[in-house]
């Protein structure tokens, strides 16, 4: 049985529908991210799961029991969840230790156990030496660790994280990403993580739900989300890509200036019919050659380098296939140097091309 299930979850503020019929199920111990641009409804969804907002339609179930539905919302304090907030919300009037012990004390645990578990979790997040400090005396990263400890120590049924890293600087953010995943591997708490940063979602999650305009566009494991995006939005939002508009007819996809055989694609496409089709081609999936490569069954197009940018880790080329209006972005290793205006041969890998709705 799934731990947490969202069924047709909807939230409207007046006429504005912020979350639109979201369906999602989390298994026990699973880490799922809600990923999307700001305003896509991910935080609203999270706050409905927490019980701070009442859904307009749909329901939230935990362990098979409805905990949120229109007109009936179990209050947050009775859900046995915990949450990490964007502002950390570390109480400035309590020490680190008091912050962490707060939830345990509310559960009326014996003070001996409160002390032991607080000490243990502070050890885990490497904050033991600062237990007596007040939050104002801590750095952003340290406050973040306190927030993590405070949320985990109560062994919640579900852990909710609302953009917890957005206030940290880049290096610390990367460090805390792995910290969050490490804690998840250690405690296996069912987790919903809200973020707009795809790298964050990729590094931490078992599965990612990409949200746009209140809807979930695709839920998948991170690498499939990248290689097999299902919608135009997901293809564009996760990494960079070339979106090619074509036309499917008689087992072939006609693109501007060239064609691809449907049979070569890894994606299953119903061959029948004559209809428009959209392809996502990642810059990393194409290779540039100075001379025509030996035939290996893959499509090769003669092209010309139109622009280039050196990014350190790679070259970012824009090439124009001959007899085509297309401009394709292609990533190449640092040592593969082509001048602007050089003729090149562009090799595509049909298996890495995704058909997008």
């Amino acid at each position: 049985m799934s731990r947490l299930v969202l069924r047709g979850l909807t939230k409207a503020f007046g006429k504005l529908t912020v979350v639109d019929a979201v369906d999602l199920a989390l298994e026990e111990g699973e880490f799922v991210s809600l990923l999307g641009p700001s305003g896509c409804g991910k935080t609203t969804t999270l706050r409905m799961i927490a019980g701070f907002l009442e859904p307009t339609a749909g329901a939230i179930e935990m362990d098979g029991r409805v905990i949120s539905s229109p007109g009936s919302v179990m209050p947050p304090e009775r859900r046995r969840m915990s949450m990490i907030f964007q502002s950390y919300a570390i109480w400035p009037n309590m020490t680190v230790e008091e912050n962490v012990a707060f939830g345990l004390k509310l559960r009326k645990l014996p003070s001996e156990e409160v002390r032991r578990r607080t000490a243990e979790i502070l050890e885990v997040v490497q904050m033991s030496h600062l237990a007596g400090r007040y939050p104002a005396e801590l750095s952003g990263g340290q406050q973040q660790r306190v927030a993590l400890a405070r949320a985990i120590v109560v062994k919640p049924s579900v852990l909710l994280l609302d953009e917890p890293l957005s206030n940290l600087d880049a290096n610390l953010r990367e460090e805390m990403r792995f910290e969050i995943r490490r804690l998840h591997d250690e405690f296996r708490i069912t987790t919903v993580y809200v973020t707009h940063d795809q790298a964050e979602a990729m590094a931490t999650s078992d599965r990612i739900a990409v949200m746009n305009a209140g809807r979930i566009e695709q839920v998948d494991v991170p690498h499939l989300l990248y290689t097999r995006p299902r919608t135009r939005f997901v293809a564009g939002f996760i990494g960079r890509t070339n979106l090619l508009e074509g036309r499917l007819a008689e087992g072939e996809i006609a693109l501007d200036g060239f064609a691809l055989k449907v049979a070569q694609l890894a994606d299953r496409v119903p061959e029948a019919g004559n209809r428009p089709i959209l392809l996502s081609v990642r810059p990393q999936s194409m290779v540039l050659h100075r001379t025509p490569p030996s035939a290996n069954g893959r499509p090769v197009l003669p092209a010309m380098v139109a622009e280039r940018v050196y990014l350190g880790e790679s070259w970012d080329y824009v090439v124009r296939p001959r007899d085509s209006g297309l401009r394709l972005r292609v990533a190449a290793p640092p040592l593969q140097v082509h001048e602007v205006g050089d003729p090149v041969w562009l090799e595509m890998d049909p298996r890495q091309i995704a058909v997008v709705d």
Partner: protein
């Protein structure tokens, strides 16, 4: 007294503990269930709305209605307006009020702008002293300053004139406080802090780069100040001017103490005369209308001035500020600040203290003139003095507590969006800001003095009036305090298992305590010196210190009067000191 803050917060939690009931219980309940869920907050909303209507709206409406009523019968009439504007003397009072307001505001600007510029932008020495002078002028009640200046600049025995005669051998007086200019100066010397606070806040926001930009294309420090810095602060100067103008036209104490002997009649003193036996509330209501309309209009203008973004440079970045180097001229500015401080605070307070320990104040400092009799008289013999001290303390404390509780509840409901139309409550809380105290007092008198409530002469009437009068200050303070506590602070407690009440008690209340205490003290201090509303509403047994001071000033016994003023000042200073200690050094002068 102090826990008022947390009490208020806890109360809100109690009544706000809303809602949601466990899912299993009811899905079929539908509408009924929903009603049950919303009820507690709605009840609180209704209770607050009723309280605010009673405190704010009803007196105003009654004031308006009464101005069209015939005394006794309540029949519709226009004769009140005919009476109120039918005599040259009454019209003169209107003109006098406006002229006095303009003059006092102009003098205040002249006094305060150089001080604000010096403190905010220059390397003038003695900034701490300047701050002390501003705070001092803010703390000394206007009517006490007025009495001090009577002792200083009375035409015959005022110390300044005595000294002048002694120095020059002249016969006449150098200065005469019993004149229109004298009155305007005394008011300005007490009101200039309003201009100072606004202008300094505006100057603080102007980054030095603005001035650098002028310097680099060839403007010297003076040109820069005149052409760049001051124009940027211009809206604040104007706003300060308006505030002092409004303060002046609504002021009762100073015009009554100085103006009446000098035969200068203004609107407030004329209103007072309408309240002499037989009381003509209806005429007073009609006569108060211009005061109300001018205030509402000018506050709107002032809001517009301060709200125009982009004019006052409100850039957050590049905000580095360096002080303008003045060279020897900094001593001139220091002299100016010190001079204002001496005239506004040091001299009047010193003569008051001197008089309070004197057998006859005119004889000055002499060993055989010293006595404690004035204080002894007040503390042990005077039948009303101690009662009035007690009245003042408990009326002010009650008003500060009620205003604080209402303000906190409303601020919390509005900020956390717990009820629809919360802004209506916020608006009602802020509304008294545009009602002069004296007008509000007449409204309270008209609405609640006579039956059915018959509150005339009761403590309740005064407490309610003080509550209404200072509600905007309490509300602005509560709003800032509540806004400063991130809602996530509470949510973090709730998700860990604390109910709404519990999370407010454990998290929100401790975080709000300090700033709410500051707000409570400000209201207490302002209420404890309030005169213009109190003087209309007190009965024989509910006299406050301020009203008793005014009574004593009519009797003309300046030594006892000064001693009583000394007691009031001492109480105020203790409270200010407590406030500074607990709520921060600038708790009274913070610009909201």
């Amino acid at each position: 007294m102090t826990p008022s803050a947390s009490d208020g917060a806890a109360m809100s939690g109690d009544t706000v503990t809303v809602l949601p009931r466990p899912a299993a219980a009811s899905r079929a309940g539908g509408l009924l269930d929903r009603l049950r869920n919303i009820e507690p907050v709605s009840l609180l909303w209704a209770a607050l709305a009723a309280a605010l209507l009673f405190l704010v709206a009803a007196p105003l409406v009654k004031l308006f209605v009464a101005s069209f009523e015939t005394q006794g019968t309540g029949a519709f009439t226009l004769s009140n307006y005919a009476t109120a504007y039918g005599r040259q003397r009454y019209l003169d009072a209107l003109v006098n009020s406006l002229t006095l307001g303009l003059l006092s505001a102009a003098i205040s600007v002249v006094l305060a702008v150089p001080m604000a510029w010096a403190v905010s932008r220059t390397d003038m020495p003695g900034k701490g002293l300047t701050w002390a002078a501003v705070l001092g002028a803010f703390v000394v009640p206007p009517y006490l300053a007025a009495i001090g200046w009577i002792l200083l600049a009375g035409p015959n025995s005022g110390f300044v004139n005595q000294a002048w005669r002694w120095l020059t051998g002249a016969e006449g007086a150098l200065v005469n406080v019993y004149s229109f200019t004298g009155l305007a100066l005394v008011i300005a010397l007490n009101s200039f802090p309003l201009v100072f606070i606004l202008v300094k806040a505006a100057l603080d926001l102007i980054s030095s780069e603005m001035e650098d930009a002028a310097n680099i294309i060839g403007a010297g420090p003076w040109t820069t100040m005149w052409k760049v810095t001051l124009p940027l602060a211009w809206p604040a100067v104007l706003a300060g001017f308006i505030l002092v103008f409004l303060e002046t036209i609504a002021l009762f104490g100073t015009p009554a103490i100085i103006g009446i002997p000098a035969r200068i009649n203004v609107v407030t003193t004329q209103l007072w005369q309408f309240f002499e036996y037989p009381v003509r509330v209806e005429v007073a209501a009609a006569y108060a209308m211009p005061l109300l309309l001018v205030t509402v209009g000018l506050i709107a203008v002032q809001k517009l001035l301060l709200g125009r973004k982009g004019f006052v440079s409100q850039t957050g970045k590049g905000g580095e500020r360096r002080m303008v180097r003045l060279g020897p001229f900094r001593w001139v500015l220091f002299g100016w600040c010190a001079g204002v401080g001496a005239l506004a605070v040091v001299m009047p307070v010193l003569v008051l203290i001197q008089a309070s320990f004197a057998k006859a104040w005119g004889r000055g400092l002499a060993l055989d003139n010293l006595t404690l009799r004035n204080y002894a008289l007040l503390l042990f013999e005077h039948e009303m003095a101690l009662t009035s001290v007690w009245n003042t303390i408990w009326f002010s404390a009650a008003a500060a507590t009620i205003a604080g509780a209402i303000a906190l509840l409303v601020a919390y409901l509005v900020n956390r969006r717990l009820v629809p139309f919360g802004e209506v409550l916020g608006f009602l809380c802020m509304a008294p800001f545009v009602i002069p105290g004296i007008v509000m007092a007449i409204g309270f008198y008209a609405a609640y003095a006579s039956p059915p409530l018959a509150l005339y002469g009761t403590a309740t009437l005064l407490i309610l009036a003080f509550t209404a009068r200072f509600l905007p200050i309490a509300y602005a303070n509560s709003q800032a305090a509540v806004r400063a506590v991130h809602p996530e602070m509470e949510e973090a407690a709730r998700i860990l298992g604390a109910g709404r009440l519990q999370s407010i008690a454990r998290v929100t209340a401790p975080l709000l305590k300090k700033s709410l205490l500051g707000g409570w003290l400000i209201v207490f201090i302002l209420a404890s010196r309030e005169l213009s509303a109190a003087v209309f509403l007190v009965g024989p047994r509910t006299r406050t210190m301020s009203v008793l001071l005014y009574d004593l000033s009519e009797a003309g016994n300046f030594e006892v009067l000064a001693a009583f003023g000394g007691i009031l000042l001492a109480i105020t200073l203790v409270l200010v000191a407590v406030g500074m200690k607990l709520a921060g050094r600038d708790f009274m002068l913070r610009r909201e």
